[in-house]
């Protein structure tokens, strides 16, 4: 296994893109071979990531020590290295990514949206997988940047080619656009705008690391060491650097007011695209905050934390209110992401171990739950050919299985205790009550109260959606239609998600056992310890 200890992560990351190359050599009309190869590749990548889990030393160690580490020279001239590694924070996200990818391939087995072309779609999915997996394990800022950007290309094509073809009037243009065209370019431009500034931030860190004595470096572990020791504390432009990186990550999360690409992109994307966007792509942003912004610029993080918290809370409330105004089921789910990611960001903004733990479990839970919701929305619109909630209704009578799963997932999404969604919201509110010492209690406690109101609103719109979609009598227009309920591919893709939602809901320790050590030692290391450190285990056991 020694070989795997070194190259395990590399295999997990690059297997998909090699698979994409392989698919290039298979004939376009040989759909079976294409699907089987893609499935085999994603399953292998998932197995590789589980082998990583199996060999992972959960004993911990302190923050900033990574396992399965590889550090090879990549671009010698600028001292950028191929440095990958994994710790308790990134492990759950990596596994989530490889896992959801398998389900996405299974789901797409017989769900090809127009204009079909499974070959191109699967190739894009596999490239996307490499970008996502890579972001979670990259320990070099340049490498991180590359992986962070790689996901844009396939997603752009996914939305643009297979997306929603209905026409849409865009302000400022006389002719209506197809929604897919509008959404795909908007998605790309927003993200690119953010990442251009993020790159400037990375470069500033690189030069400053050189001024601090040693060689200039992009290495996240070395920069973290510098940051934790307070080396960047007196740096005059540190605030700007934090802001530049904030732009890059906040667009991706997305945080209010940079979120406007999200409802368009999620709604227009084909089902699998929406699932991957919601389940994994959004996490790249919040992961960036935890891995890069907080540890490297802790002083700035403390200055900015209240503002991040305020934006997060606005996101929660705004997202929920926007949901209440939707008539389109998929758009409602899309907006719910704004709210849920608001809780994640609120947790991060507290700068405490509870808050960051909440953020990680919140990310995983949101990935599973919202991913499943988008699967369901896709399958329903596949059958009804509409996503208008006014025309749906009585769904559970027409399709008991899909309706039942939808009810279950909506419950999970509104944060019902006992299901996965509960922990992230609950703990981030707990953390907001008691943020890192020195942060404004007023802001965070107000945030907590508003966040709590947000959970009520979340329950409100989710139940309202259920009422309109699932309950009541079926719309007369569906009379005589023979709807087939969930097929075996759909169930194969969904049941694992359902199981995980229940398991994490009842036994969140599976996540916390991985994350707590890393998170606690990170908070200790960069924010000089914290009074709430001890209470984490009681909170967890209490549940």
């Amino acid at each position: 296994m020694e070989w795997f200890e070194t190259w395990g992560l590399t295999v997990t990351v690059f297997l998909p893109v090699l698979g994409a190359l392989l698919l290039g050599f298979i004939k376009k009309d040989n759909e079976d071979a294409l699907k089987r190869t893609a499935l085999a590749i994603t399953v292998l990548a998932f197995i590789a990531s589980t082998v990583v889990v199996a060999n992972f030393d959960f004993g911990g160690g302190t923050y900033n020590t990574y396992q399965f580490e590889v550090n090879e020279t990549w671009i010698g001239a600028i001292n950028a290295n191929y440095h990958v590694g994994i710790d308790g924070i990134s492990l759950p996200l990596l596994v989530l990514s490889t896992f959801v990818m398998v389900l996405a391939v299974i789901y797409s087995w017989n769900h090809w949206e127009e204009p079909k072309n499974p070959k191109a779609f699967l190739i894009l999915m596999l490239i996307l997988a490499t970008g996502m997996n890579g972001t979670f394990v990259a320990l070099d800022l340049v490498l991180f940047f590359i992986f962070f950007e790689i996901v844009l290309l396939p997603m752009y094509f996914m939305i643009g080619i297979w997306g929603d073809k209905s026409l849409r009037q865009v302000p400022g243009f006389s002719k209506p656009f197809e929604t897919r065209l509008y959404a795909s370019i908007k998605f790309f431009l927003f993200t690119l705008f953010g990442s251009a500034f993020m790159l400037l931030g990375f470069l500033a860190l690189y030069f400053e690391s050189g001024n601090l004595g040693d060689e200039r470096t992009f290495d996240i572990t070395q920069l973290t060491e510098l940051g934790a020791s307070g080396a960047f504390a007196g740096w005059s432009v540190a605030g700007w650097v934090f802001a530049a990186m904030f732009l890059g990550f906040a667009v991706k999360v997305p945080m209010f007011p940079l979120h406007t690409w999200l409802p368009d992109a999620h709604t227009a994307a084909p089902t699998v695209g929406s699932v991957l966007l919601a389940a994994i792509l959004l996490k790249l942003g919040s992961y960036g905050f935890i891995r890069i912004s907080l540890p490297i610029l802790p002083e700035e993080a403390q200055v900015w934390a209240p503002w991040i918290a305020i934006l997060a809370v606005i996101g929660i409330i705004y997202g929920s209110l926007a949901c209440l105004a939707q008539t389109d089921m998929k758009r409602l789910i899309a907006f719910s992401s704004v709210g849920h990611m608001g809780f994640v960001m609120l947790g991060i903004a507290t700068l405490t171990d509870i808050g960051i733990n909440a953020a990680v479990i919140g990310m995983v839970a949101h990935g599973l739950i919202t991913g499943l919701l988008f699967f369901l929305a896709g399958s329903m619109s596949h059958r009804y050919h509409t996503r208008e909630m006014a025309r749906l209704g009585g769904n559970i009578k027409l399709m008991p299985v899909i309706g039942g799963i939808l009810a279950f997932t909506a419950m999970a999404s509104l944060g019902l205790p006992g299901l996965a969604g509960f922990w992230g919201e609950f703990m981030s509110l707990v953390a907001a009550y008691n943020p890192l010492e020195g942060l404004s209690l007023g802001v965070f406690r107000t945030g907590m109260v508003l966040g709590a109101i947000g959970t009520v609103l979340t329950a409100g719109y989710m139940l309202w959606m259920l009422q309109r979609v699932n309950l009541g009598e079926p719309n007369p227009e569906w009379e005589g239609h023979d709807f087939h309920d969930a097929d075996k591919f759909e169930l194969t893709a969904w049941v694992p998600l359902i199981i995980l939602i229940v398991v994490i809901g009842f036994y969140p320790k599976v996540i916390f056992d991985t994350t707590t050590d890393a998170v606690t030692s990170m908070v200790d290391m960069v924010f000089g310890g914290d009074s709430t450190t001890a209470s984490i285990s009681t909170t967890v056991k209490g549940g």
Partner: protein
Amino acid sequence: MGFEIDYLALAPELVIVVTMIVVLALDLTLRRDNKYWTATTAVAGTALALIPLGILAINGEVVSMFDGSYVVDEFALVLKGLFLVSGYIVFLMSHHYIESDRYYQGEYYFLLLASILGSLVMASSRDLIVLFIGLELVTGPLFLLAGWRKGDAKSNEASMKYFILGVLSTAILLYGMSLIFGLTGEVQFTAIAEATADMSTEPALIVAILFMIVGFGFKISAVPFHFWAPDTYEGAPTPITAYLSVNSKAAGFVAMLIVMYMALPGASDIWAPALWLLAALSMTIGNLSALRQTNIVRLLAYSSIAQAGFMLVPFAAAAVSGADLEQAFGATLIYLVIYAVMNLGAFAVVIAGARKTGTGEIAGWAGLAKVDSIMGVLTAVFFFSLAGIPPLAGWFAKFEMFRSVMIADPATIALAVIAAINAVIAFYYYAKVIKAVWLDDPTGEFTDEAEAEPAGSLKLALAVAVALTIAIGIYPSIAAFVRDAAQVLATGG
């Protein structure tokens, strides 16, 4: 020293000269049906010239000739390599394109070889006269080549505009140079540098430098001296457009930078703000104008104006803030090399695509990927690379550019922010082409005749460009060696 001639050091130039003569002789003797041999000779000659270049590079010896006016060092070799390889790719692109016109094949290759020879001379020049001769040898033949499609009014317009503005800029440039000579009595860069070291308030020097910047500005089509470019690019035969936007632009670029860097370092107070302005204007105006283009060649014309702006950024930023110019020079060189590769690729795609769709209008390319997915992939690769999206080569060029402007100085930070915003704007119009090819439904008919298939030589050009674009993108160290070449200049060639 003295006038001893090292023939090995001059071998690349000599090989090109011999090839030119052979091409002309063949053209006189061959029958019309066998004229393609001129093309083969030109391609072979260019490839052959790379051999002595390789030997010189391995030797790593600095050869200085004609009292130091003509120097073959690492810097010159890197540039000569760039000019020869991109010239080679242009020949590959030309082959089928020119053959189908059926006239003056021999002259075409002769003129293009002459232009390449000019760029080789320019790369080695270390005094104003050799530099001027080299630079004019680059542009002179292009006046004719731009008007090659004689029957086409647009091609005539292209040639005319290029000629008139080219001659005007030459005159201005030469006037600036003569003023420098008048002030210092020197033509060699190092001697001028010494003489002008404490002359930066001298009005005549200011005028001289500004004249030279205007002259070079025309050559690299920087805003506001860019008006000829879109029309000329559109009217000229596409391979010549590719050559104009890569080789001839690179030649002007390098000429400008070495003059500023080697001959006038003491006067950077004068030229630094001017370059800053050129950079900011070229990026912004180039990009904003590109947004409205509907013709793919015009789009690439404006894109190349904007790219020239990006290339100027490192140098302008470093000079304005008084930082290390050597770093900036390296970044600009890397940008040039990567830009050459991906822009030639983009033009090769345009040639192949225009054959397939029968038009250069972007709207006419709608749905191309549906009939020809390889063309679709190639379009995506080159245009996304031009936009600077990883993991394609363009990202490293932009990255190096941003890296060199990270200097804590208000003027450079402003330039960095302008560049960052422009990078996003640029993406929009590059994506417009990709959108047409991939996302739109076909509106017209595509030719599916065998004749529409790209010729073998064009395929080779595409293959070389795509391989380099992806390889440099994933492992940028292959291109990073170029940076070292800039250091040679600093230590005095």
